[in-house]
Symmetry: C2
Subunit: 349 residues, 2 copies
């Protein structure tokens, strides 16, 4: 494929950004395609600054906008490899359908993430826990205040070199006041509107020294759903437990990968409804000994404790537990190319 | 205030757009201000095309974005007048707070809508039911994939000359499947994320020949909340009934104005929880004889019937009822300057 010289020059001049905190150093070149009159254009490389949209667009006014989060790894591999790109493409399509947007063909989606990862191969951090974070998005670009689905759309892929979040054990606020998603709402897909809606809770969580919030079900505020952007696991008497998927929270690809890995390791697994108040009792009696969150950005991230808004704290453990550590290591071994990709999850770009 | 010559030229060249369907003919000049380093810039006039934002912004990625909808009228008035601008400014501030955004000072908000209405005075439709629709918005502009509130923001005001929706009696789909807002969610403010989330239901409604959907409460799917973008009223045995405000739907400024007008007219009023199944019985027994929706865009819009997804239809009336017509006329008489503004709702620009 032909790549414009100014893009190649910009990429060649690009040094590894110093701030590789998650999501901060977004690179200037992107992949982009336009949807007009019922047709997709080809995916091209371009500069973000040349593909901006109006504040009066359907995306900005009504949040007709979805995204995916995925990673290209280039640690022990010979060429960069992307983790489960086709599974992300399938979920992206489901999100588009829920938000009344045209599907992005799976091949186009995967072509785009491959192209951008190849272009930026030299700025993918090659250290353990480093990756190129990829952010495919789709949003309505009609300049219209009419409250209905857009007729024109833009598909973009942004990328940012990233090293993971802090590995410190974190505390999590039990969000008993607000719900993340309505029944039949958009919680089960990666719609833009799900995220800023959680900023108020995130702010409260941080004020209480917590990293994020734990969301409960929308009807009874009783059953655990997920953390903002991450799924939730606990270890109870040696068994790995995670909430049964509901339409109100996201079916994580990392979540599903960890269940596959755990099964392969011979761990006992339970997908079940987890009652927050029962869980608290089990933490106090010592039958639940580990908890962690998982997602594309954080991979596997151990949780030290849950906190109530009142300050009351329930501590799982002061150090990452053995099952948390094993699952994290096993997954990163595959992602970073230290071990055989026995599930066929990695795709060379 | 100094106005750039190219903006004056563009405005002078602007003819009344032919398509004045609601929200379609958005004008090219806007008001705009930037928030950076904790400070607001001055409000300026500019072209929309010069103030575009990245698809990688907090607005597009996470829907950290709010808006207001309001109107400038220029029918019988000597100069354009805006309906309740300070009340819109107050609600805008509440929306910003919920979405963790900096407040736009009330004076700045009102200055902006006045400025744009004066600039575009010549394209405000001067016929009955015509107005300049004004759309103040505030959204996060950080180019960052970090999932937290933006540090930079843009405040814009777009405008579109508009004639109202069709005056045909409309049918409304009872949305029994999806909820519009979670408990403690963002339904009570004008957050962008509330709107595209309803497009799926809107599509289903249109397939059934309905204009929009009627949303029920998020916990029991039993109590009426609102239509997409409009509040809901019925007339029962001569009394005007509307759902009690809940945090899960929008406290409409038109809703509040109609309650004030109705009280002034000596009508009996009840704000109460309205059970959808009881309402259906009351339609069938003939005790409920009128229904209408209200909002800035549609003002007062009579509802012919409610429909179930199965196709079953409950008809209020085939013609707009007397209370619907009276309230509509009384409100438009004030807005269009045919009668004294006895509540102090109109502000000259």
């Amino acid at each position: 494929m032909y790549i414009r010289q100014d893009i190649l020059d910009a990429v060649a001049a690009k040094k590894m950004p110093e701030d590789r905190t998650f999501g901060k150093a977004v690179l200037p070149a992107i992949c982009v395609a336009q949807y007009k009159n019922g047709q997709w254009s080809e995916v091209e490389l371009g500069f973000d600054r040349d593909h901006r949209l109006s504040g009066g667009s359907t995306a900005v006014q009504y949040a007709q906008s979805i995204f995916e989060g995925m990673k290209a790894y280039f640690v022990h591999q010979v060429t960069p490899q992307i983790f489960r790109p086709y599974d992300h493409a399938v979920r992206f399509r489901r999100s588009a359908e829920r938000m009344c947007m045209p599907p992005v063909p799976r091949e186009m989606f995967v072509y785009g993430v491959n192209l951008l990862s190849r272009l930026y191969a030299d700025v993918i951090p090659r250290e353990a826990d480093g990756a190129l974070y990829l952010r495919p998005s789709l949003y309505g670009t009609d300049y219209s205040l009419s409250i209905e689905p857009s007729e024109s759309y833009q598909f973009t892929i942004h990328a940012a070199p990233t090293i993971p979040f802090s590995k410190d054990m974190k505390s999590v606020l039990i969000e008993r006041r607000n719900s993340r998603s309505a029944v039949g709402g958009t919680g089960g897909v990666k719609a833009a509107g799900n995220y800023a809606a959680g900023f108020q809770s995130l702010t409260r969580a941080r004020q209480l020294g917590c990293a994020t919030s734990l969301w409960l079900d929308p009807l009874e505020s009783k059953y655990i759903e997920e953390l903002s952007l991450m799924n939730f696991f606990v270890v109870r008497e040696g068994e790995l437990h995670t909430p049964t998927l509901q339409n109100s929270f996201l079916p994580g690809i990392t979540r599903q990968s960890l269940l596959t890995l755990a099964e392969d390791l011979g761990l006992r697994i339970a997908e079940r409804r987890i009652d927050i108040n029962e869980l608290i009792k089990e933490i106090e009696t010592g039958s639940v000994t580990e908890a962690f969150s998982c997602g594309t950005a954080a991979v596997v991230s151990p949780i030290r404790s849950l906190k109530e808004a009142s300050g009351t704290e329930y501590v799982f453990s002061d150090e990452p537990g053995p099952i948390t550590r094993t699952l994290r290591k096993q997954l990163l071994d595959i992602q970073e190319g230290r071990t055989a990709d026995r599930f066929g999850w990695m795709q060379s770009v």
